[in-house]
């Protein structure tokens, strides 16, 4: 079982990397982009077979270390 954790800066916290890429896209002529947010994805291979348990465990990991919840939000997806 795998857990996919996506981490992004919270809405309202300026994302300097996203802004720079947005500028670059504009410069390349891609005008249809309204906003760019850059985050990171952490993929964990888990020993657990129970989805609920795995989710609870990964949530603890996200709160403790994977994300800094002062500035970041995260989502967790469990994949068989």
């Amino acid at each position: 079982m795998r857990a996919i954790v996506n981490i992004f800066l919270k809405e309202g916290v300026l994302d300097p990397q996203g802004k720079a890429v947005h500028h670059a896209l504009d410069a390349l002529g891609f005008e249809g982009v309204e906003d760019v947010r850059i985050g990171k994805q952490i993929i964990l291979k888990l020993k657990s077979l129970n989805i609920e348990e795995a989710k609870a465990e990964v949530e603890k990991m996200a709160e403790e270390i994977l994300a800094n919840t002062v500035i970041e939000d995260y989502t967790i997806e469990i994949v068989e």
């Binding site: 916290v13 300026l14 300097p16 720079a20 270390i65 800094n68 002062v70 500035i71």
Partner: protein, 224 residues
């Protein structure tokens, strides 16, 4: 003679400069490897020196906060001991939630390394007691993640409790945008005023041959 414990993580690179600065002030300073369980007894000040602990992996300071020595640092701070985090040390202190807020990637995405003027915002604390409020110091900065963030409510509290130590400024003392920090903040302390964090490197400005000695004026607050 006051004892200073300087923490060293894998990737810390300002530990020797920091030791040099405190030795110059007549301290008995010691470098403490992060795997140690306890900071030495009689320690007056713990300094978390600058560098790139754990290669800045995940986020700057995110992994160092779990090193064995940090438990002892938390106890030391809780009992009123002085803790100073410089640059990566500041990042570690925010990651460990010993200081509020967080340090994000610089707004312009560059690693900024240069002398930078900063204005003393509050000097009613142990660290900056030999500085004057409004005084302008010229201190080196060298960081990629120095963009201080705190939400509006948190910022108001920092201001109301005189927790803002330094703000980036121009030569005339007007606030300057350097890395995108909220309110141009360069350094803060906790409400109890025993835990301090700043992005500038006072230990790199301790004698005139290094450009200026403004850093000594700051560091000696803990010692003299």
């Amino acid at each position: 003679m006051k004892k200073v414990a300087i923490l060293q993580f894998p990737g810390t690179n300002c530990d020797l400069d920091t030791k040099y600065a405190f030795d110059k002030l007549g301290c008995k300073s010691e470098i403490i490897w992060h795997k140690e369980q306890k900071i030495p007894s009689d320690t007056h000040l713990v300094v978390i020196a600058g560098g790139f602990s754990y290669g800045d992996y995940l986020r700057s300071g995110a992994i160092a906060k779990f090193s064995p020595i940090m438990r002892s640092v938390k106890e030391f701070a809780k009992s009123g001991g002085f803790v100073l985090g410089i640059c990566n040390g500041f990042q570690i202190l925010t990651e460990a939630r010993l200081l509020e807020g967080a340090l994000k990637r610089n707004e312009n995405l560059h690693f900024i390394s240069r002398f930078q003027t900063v204005k003393v915002e509050n000097s009613d604390n142990e660290f900056l007691k030999y500085c004057q409020e409004g005084e302008i110091l010229n201190i080196p900065i060298a960081h990629a993640d120095g963009n201080y963030y705190i939400d509006k409510g948190g910022l108001r509290e920092l201001e109301e409790n005189n927790q803002i130590l330094l703000r980036y400024c121009d030569r005339d003392g007007n606030r300057a945008v350097v890395n995108g920090s909220v309110g141009s903040i360069a350094g803060i302390c906790n409400r109890e005023k025993n835990i301090f964090g700043l992005m500038p490197h006072p230990e790199r400005a301790v004698e005139n041959i290094l450009g200026n000695s403004g850093g000594i004026k700051m560091l000696k607050g803990f010692i003299l």
